[in-house]
Amino acid sequence: MHNTTYHKASSAAEAASLLSGADDGALLAGGQTLIPTMKQRLAAPSDLVDISGVAELKGISVSGSSVTIGAMTTHAEVASSAELRAVCPGLADLAGHIGDPAVRHRGTLGGSVANNDPAADYPAAMLALGATIKTNTREIAADDFFQSMFTTALDEGEMIVSVSFEAPEKGAYAKFPNPASRYAMCGVFVAKGAGGVRVAVTGAGDDGVFRSADMEAALSSNFAADALDGVTVSPNGMLSDIHGDAAYRANLVKVMAKRATAAA
């Protein structure tokens, strides 16, 4: 690891100012992605601004069907929240299957969303739930937030504060884990809410998370797993790597979408 200067922020405002004052600073949330990258000497921020002590970034609040989750809420907290599970069990289940217990107790929703790893689980949920990503300067719709793999609408120095969404009438996530990393080889979040049906796919696309218009249309007319039988998922635009080719991933998209629909 290269040398870096560590700061611990006590408020979101302090974090923002520490970050803007740094040469080439980075926010440190759970550190589950950033620290390994630094240890491999692939990232070398001049300053680390630790936001794990910022109370206002943490916690889950549910009011009716409106849900807000703070950026620093860990995967374990999301997985074990009874309040959240009561209105959106699909998201709690998703969080409960990220990584291993150590990762779930350190890793955060904000870190995962900011990182937008093409195989991460949360981006599919955010997109399917039509979530709003609130930062220290503005609010961004999930549809605009996830731009391409590892790329988001966040400006330099911009910090995610929380995400909010309306819990869907039905919603579930089905994941086929990559055998090695156990990130999503293909994960599909299916949600049927006030705004209609949204289907978001992570892990399978060659440029990050995406929505499937064909599957959304099929499920809008009939929200049932069989409704997807007639949908053809093209291998074009699917990722091909040592774990599986595009044709296999296209198959998984459909299989996981059916399983998510059945579970929703």
Binding site: F176, P179, I242, G244, Y248
Partner: protein, 784 residues
Amino acid sequence: MSEGIGAPVKRKEDKRFITGAGRYTDDIKLENQAYAAFVRSPHAHANVKSIDKSAAEGMDGVLAVLDGKQLTGDGIGNIICGWAITSKDGSPMNMGAWSALATDKVRYVGDAVVAVIAETKAQAKEAAEAVVVEYEELPAAAHIDAALAGGAPQIHDNAPGNVIYDWEIGEKDPTEAAIAGAAHVTEMDITNNRLSPNAMEPRSAITKYDAAEDHYTLYTTSQNPHVARLVLSAFYAVAPEHKLRVIAPDVGGGFGSKIYIYPEEIVCLWAAMKTKRSIKWTADRTEAFLTDAHGRDHVTTAKMGFDASGNIVGFHVSTKANFGAYMSLFSSAVPTYLYATLLSGTYNIPNIYCEVLACYTNTVPIDAYRGAGRPEASYVVERMMETAAREMGKDPAELRRQNFINEFPHQTPVIMNYDSGDFEGNMNQAMEAADWAGFEARKAESAAHGKLRGIGMACYIEACGIAPSAAVGSLGAGVGLWESAEVRVNPVGTIEILTGSHSHGQGHETTFAQVVADRFGVPLDSVQIVHGDTDKVQFGMGTYGSRSGPVGMSAIVKALDKVEAKVKKIGAHLLEVTEADITIEDGQVKAQGTNKALGWHEIGLAAYTAHNLPPDMEPGLKEGAFYDPLNFTFPMGCFICEVEVDPETGKTEILKFVASDDFGVIINPMIVEGQVHGGIAQGVGQALLEEVVYDESGQQLSASYMDYTMPRADDVPSYDVLHHNTKCTTNPLGIKGCGEAGAIGSPPAVINAITNAIGNNDLSMPATPSKVWAALGAAKIAAE
């Protein structure tokens, strides 16, 4: 006896391991210690045009920046392969030069070019990044076919066409004739996937040079410290043997990968002398993927002929073996004498012929990895048997039964002479435990919930107890493969066993002590096993090839025989009876037929006070022995695996795994069961999950756990481990060895089960979900 042979006593060494008190190489900190970091080639194949060390040399904390020209200039020798293989045409193998630091050419990604020595690890790494190496990239050959193709890049000048050797064993013409006249011939192309060993503890070295004594010390992660010292002295000329101490302290797993002497140990020893500093290097996980010797990587075409009643008449095997960029220490023996000699399997096969083409590629060197050659043989034989049965419409168990060897000793056409076994006994035991007969009903149940169920069998045999020295010498080995032991009975009666074997997970501190406890009836806790230090222990050959039981313990038994003889003489003298009247039991030396007895400690005391010993007897009670095995030992067994495949995703779940092994006499059944569990986990890893993947340019695409799939707890089933043992007839304890069997027998059992489930024999390892799904699609197309 509760602590002797056959007792499932808990492992003595585990207390320190599970309380964090183990002492591994990286835990050691020496006075005046500096750190090494290596500059490695990012290219699979390139000429080194120039090396600019100036920026690195000026950096904070940097003590030395050392390159290959300095290394060879100081007379450090090239790394060698210690087993000479002769080609069909009588020519010797083509061993290319391997310098610990590349001088003018790099041949794989990770090849070490420069070593930076600095005060801290961070400074060493920082400076290593500042070394500027100018490369002229060359086309690379990363795979066997690419390396053997016409016009392939030439990796070593002295290996035309990248061929190391073209070797054969068995009788070609009779085998071909038998197959030509066969009623049925099964032919398959079979690939054995390339694996990375992944010991939990990465390789590490820490070196010290004492200028006043001109003496060197190397602490390192080794399975065989004496072999390391021998090679470092005799071939690499780092230090003379009597001026070099090699210590392998606690070692966290080896699986073969820690047999060899690697560039880093050589460089750290040499650099300690140059800088007059102690030097530490520990691989990080990426370095482990990039530099630890890999295993397997064979491509084989096999043909097996059967007569009309299903008896095997001939077996013809052509194998191409990947060696990587350089020949590692035992690499040449693995696809020859550790592979082709096991191609008779558990069967009566009158004619066998095997040819092996060994080649260089621009990849990490390949050498022995748990099983070394035998898993490759067992995979070929057992997939062929299963496929042949399916093709001939026979029950795969019955086809095996019909061809089993039933009489011992049995001479195969490929050198090996099996001493003992009851192959049918193991198969019957496994079939019963697996409820083989009830499979069809379970398959129907799976079908009812949309899953494909399959069952597969493998009847492996392997060769352990490596190895009779004269025999391996005649086959090209550069060393003898005996083992040594010394038994020291202290004046107070406690016992130290100095063994040339080395434990890196196997539990020798427990099992070896059990042999002693069994012999004299002394408490297990009064026996200490000493190993892993060339200054403490007499020359020994180390641990690999499941040899510590059959060979290492046999040496201990020989030394115990001598101790026992002397104890009886002392006892007879003190108790005033004849030697024939003396028995040793329960820690006492007794005069039979009398109530006279001496405590064990009294014998020790008598031996060392020497106040009253028989006339002409030397004082002391310490005996040594060297044991050279008469034959290999032949563990065998029958494994049955039952799987369920999800046809939508191609994912396989192992529902049941039964192992019935014949390991001969078992010293500690709990430790043996652990060895079987670990072996099967590695075999399941090979069958379902693990593969080192290189792209065409020679970059490793699987060099981290994000892409290299190690088996996790939920990937492996709960095993049924059973035994049906027959005693080995060629060593004193009757032991066959158990360290590799699980990894040898399980891959074909798993793949036979999956191919049975999906109805397509054309499936290669690892059977990942995507491959199984594709094979299912191919089977569907074939059926339409």
